[in-house]
């Protein structure tokens, strides 16, 4: 395997229906974006699963670090006042 390079990894995102956002569905290997798109169609939409596909080379994705989950997400936990139920209103005010 000396100078043979493996095809890069691509992440595949599919919009399942009109009006929905793209969702990550999996990954695949391809030499370039055109092939990634063709392979994504064949591998991930054989049964009408999508109306639109995005492919992104995996190395271009920045991900949060699992070990920093605490400092990253915990601060949001004690901010209950960001939710509507924090504010108690009388029934007289109606739906709000």
């Amino acid at each position: 395997m000396s100078d043979k390079k493996e095809w890069p990894l691509w992440e595949v995102f599919i919009r399942g229906q009109h009006g929905m956002s793209h969702r990550h569905v999996g990954s695949l290997h391809a030499s370039d974006n055109e092939m990634a798109m063709k392979n994504a169609r064949d591998v991930y939409t054989r049964r009408n699963e999508g109306v639109s596909i995005w492919v992104v080379e995996a190395q271009h994705i920045s991900a949060s670090v699992p070990s920093e989950k605490g400092p990253m997400f915990d601060p949001a936990k004690d901010k209950v006042y960001r939710h509507p139920t924090f504010y108690e209103l009388p029934d007289e005010a109606g739906n709000m």
């Binding site: 030499s31 064949d42 699992p66 070990s67």
Partner: protein, 330 residues
């Protein structure tokens, strides 16, 4: 089961108190039903076991295309041909989902292929049997995919996120495979005398190997306990095998075909069928490489890989050239 005899690297199951702090926290997450995701901490043995299991599963999907591919050009009608093509294409897709899941554990696709080709990694013993007649396409879909589904459905709840998600996709697609197989059997079992004989012959040949797919009996399955604690194996081999027999026997009766087992009998007391164990000597022999088609299957894989090398390299060279051109133009 597509992953038989996955060798475990663990030394048996440790009690929570014997574990390191990290291992204990990990086991407790699994016990709570949390999913483990790729970059998170995991014991080395968990990672290694999973690579073996998912790898073996992926290889089985890919090698599993060969016995059926054998009949694509000889399918009896255009409709059957389209059905079979779609099924074999699905198997390729299933292999790809699983390779992707294995890769998230830090092994590369090429490494996995090389381990298959060198014999370091296995695939399911079932694919080392030949598909001699068109009725075998029926028997494979009905019995082999049926056995696979039995194993894969519970694996949708496995502890490793990417593996579980691949299983969800696979299970969604797999039931068409079994149904198309059973329908082939229905047509043949209700066809001419010769067709019925072919259907019976296919059942005779695939029954034992299908039972072997679940792996050796629990009492001989040394690696199960740790895998079950880690939830990378959800049911015991014997439990799934029994379930398979209980579901399949009435289907054979419906087809008016005879399951080739003199000891097969409904047991009122247990509420299950009693049945004979398959020939385990044959199973171990096939795993060792001595099945009727081991050599042929592996050679076909290697040939495809080796003869495709120049294409893979050319595509990569083309992509690099194109990228350089684009950069120069900017």
């Amino acid at each position: 089961m597509y992953a038989q005899m996955v060798k475990s690297t663990g030394k048996g199951v440790q009690a929570l108190e014997e574990m390191s702090r990290e291992e204990r926290a990990f086991q407790e997450r699994i016990d709570r039903g949390e999913k483990i995701e790729p970059k998170e901490w995991m014991p080395d043995a968990y990672r290694k076991n999973l690579i073996r299991q998912i790898g073996q599963h992926a290889h089985s999907e890919i090698v599993g295309q060969l016995p059926e591919g054998n009949w694509i050009t000889r399918a009896p009608t255009l409709e059957r041909k389209a059905n079979l093509l779609a099924k074999v294409q699905d198997e390729a897709g299933h292999g790809l989902y699983l390779y992707c899941a294995a890769e998230t554990l830090g092994v590369s696709r090429d490494e996995l292929f090389e381990m298959l080709h060198s014999g370091k990694m296995k695939y399911s013993s079932i694919f080392n049997y030949p598909t001699l007649t068109w009725a075998d396409m029926g028997a494979v879909g009905w019995l082999v995919d049926g056995a696979a589904i039995m194993n894969q459905v519970p694996l949708q709840r496995t502890s490793y996120g990417p593996y579980a998600r691949a299983m969800v996709r696979i299970c969604k697609e797999e039931s068409f495979h079994q149904r198309q197989g059973f329908q082939i059997m229905m047509v043949m079992a209700n066809g001419s005398k010769d067709q019925k004989r072919m259907a019976q012959d296919a059942l005779n040949r695939f029954w034992g190997p299908a039972l072997m797919m679940f792996g050796p009996s629990d009492k001989d399955s040394v690696h199960s306990a740790q895998s079950m604690a880690w939830k990378i194996k959800m049911n015991s081999n014997d439990e799934l095998r029994q379930k398979f027999v209980d579901e399949t026997v009435p289907q054979a009766e419906y087809l008016d075909l005879k399951v080739p087992d003199e000891n097969l009998k409904w047991n009122e007391e247990t509420g299950h069928y009693d049945f004979s164990q398959p020939d385990w000597d044959e199973f171990y022999d096939v795993l060792k490489g001595n099945g009727p088609c081991n050599h042929e299957r592996l050679e076909a894989r290697k040939k495809a890989w080796d003869e495709g090398a120049w294409v893979r390299e050319a595509m990569m060279a083309h992509a690099e050239k194109k990228a350089a051109k684009k950069q120069a133009a900017e």
